[in-house]
Symmetry: C2
Subunit: 275 residues, 2 copies
């Protein structure tokens, strides 16, 4: 008998993956956590029944989340990752010659389950990585540390979800205040055609930054097949900061970086002006 | 009670759309034809249970199928469309100052149903358009006409499907022979991660052309969310033929054209060499 997992994320739309087996199913303090082994995408991590990352295509998401931001800062040394408990974002950051990476995730269970079932996603033993199990809102409110790049790799801002406070105007101001002179913020946002109102709110919350841009990349497991990212810079233009990297990549190239900022008119219309 | 349509196209993967109602369901001589009204994508045309086009995102597919090819030929006057019975490809071609467009589709029922239920897809009354209900393989074998651009807008080459003969080495040779000196062929191919062997076969079948390139574009309703196109040119380089169009578009821009040819390394690996 075939076993199917269905994701009901976008209204009136459903994604189905045929599953070999469920490797883990449990509840943390914050959310339902599940790891399944799928035929098409290998192991899949789900939080509250939403696909977060899959073995087969996580590299597309994590490379595009990290490399444009790290190249936009002229010399990124201190990096903060908000969320990112699966380890993929910090793994990509650590490929750069950074000095310190702080990963602040509220849910230790996501980190433990990811390390156990998706160990290839993380580079957990790198001495430059410090993992803090904390609420990022409180963490930043109490900290005076300054970062060169802040990466938001959280779940989506669902009204009742654990990540909702991370998408408030106040939190973005706090992020801005914790960024160095040429500091860069990058966040995953949602696919552009399903929920434009969330994209718009995010865009407007970043109006303290002199430069805010949207770019996109392929992630076949996400609804609609692409994912969009919003990047805000105090200094260099992210769209012009493409560069050949000194390590191998499977998705990122300077040409892809440049191409990712070319948006079709139906997306541009909403986002061509400064927020 | 909710009514869901599920597409089982890629093994172990399923796309579900919630449907308001079925507008048409019948069988032609060649295939099952269905038009449904969906909440998310408006009206959807399905052939043999596979989504072909939807009201909401058909512009993304048709603009990217047509404009790069029409701009690659220095002066496209005579255009052949193989398939394209829904009318979208010819509608985009007719926005250019072409003299003659021949649409050769084997299945008159697809044309009739599309004209009735998706009339906004076509520009059926343009005097430059000639519609022929014929097998394109036989049509080209018997014709001595020469075209500047040939567009393949058929269903996919499923082993038992009506479009299978359109993907033979012999047919591509026949297409080549019916192209003018700077002639261009463009075909939709499939998303690059699910069925690389079909892409490879297509690539190798085009080795008589001096230039063959792959590019991609977004089509949220298709599995994986992007679609790839293969373009073969006897003359100009398609990747360098981007240009501002004289009419409005919702997806195509010169920047998008250029960006569409930037492929991530995991796709490039297979297709960087001449076939």
């Amino acid at each position: 008998m075939a076993l199917w997992y269905y994701e009901d994320y976008i209204p009136h739309y459903r994604l189905g993956l045929e599953i070999k087996e469920t490797l883990f199913l449990g509840n943390s303090l914050y959310q339902k956590i599940q790891v399944v082994d799928s035929y098409l995408y290998g192991k899949v991590l789900l939080l509250d029944d939403i696909v977060q990352t899959t073995e087969k295509d996580e590299f597309m998401y994590h490379e595009m989340l990290i490399h444009p931001a790290l190249l936009t800062h002229p010399q990124p040394k201190k990096i903060l990752i908000v969320g990112g408990g699966d380890g993929g974002a910090s793994r990509e950051v650590l490929k750069h010659p950074v000095k310190k990476v702080k990963l602040v995730d509220i849910d230790s269970a996501v980190i433990e389950i990811s390390r156990k079932f998706l160990p290839e996603l993380g580079n957990w033993n790198d001495q430059r990585l410090e993992v803090l199990v904390e609420d990022a809102v409180k963490y930043l409110a109490l900290s005076e540390e300054i970062f060169d790049v802040i990466v938001m790799d959280s779940t989506d801002p669902l009204p009742s979800g654990v990540a909702e406070p991370l998408f408030s105007k106040e939190f973005f101001q706090s992020v801005y205040d914790h960024l160095s002179e040429d500091g860069v913020l990058v966040s995953q946002i949602e696919p552009p055609f399903f929920q434009p109102e969330r994209e718009q709110r995010h865009w407007e919350s970043l109006n303290m930054f002199p430069l805010v841009k949207v770019y996109w990349g392929l992630v076949p497991t996400y609804p609609g097949g692409i994912w969009t990212y919003m990047i805000a810079s105090k200094g260099k233009d992210p769209a012009a900061s493409f560069k050949k990297l000194s390590f191998p990549t499977r998705y990122y190239t300077p040409e892809i970086h440049r191409a990712a900022f070319a948006l079709p008119p139906f997306m541009q219309e909403r986002l061509s002006k400064k927020p």
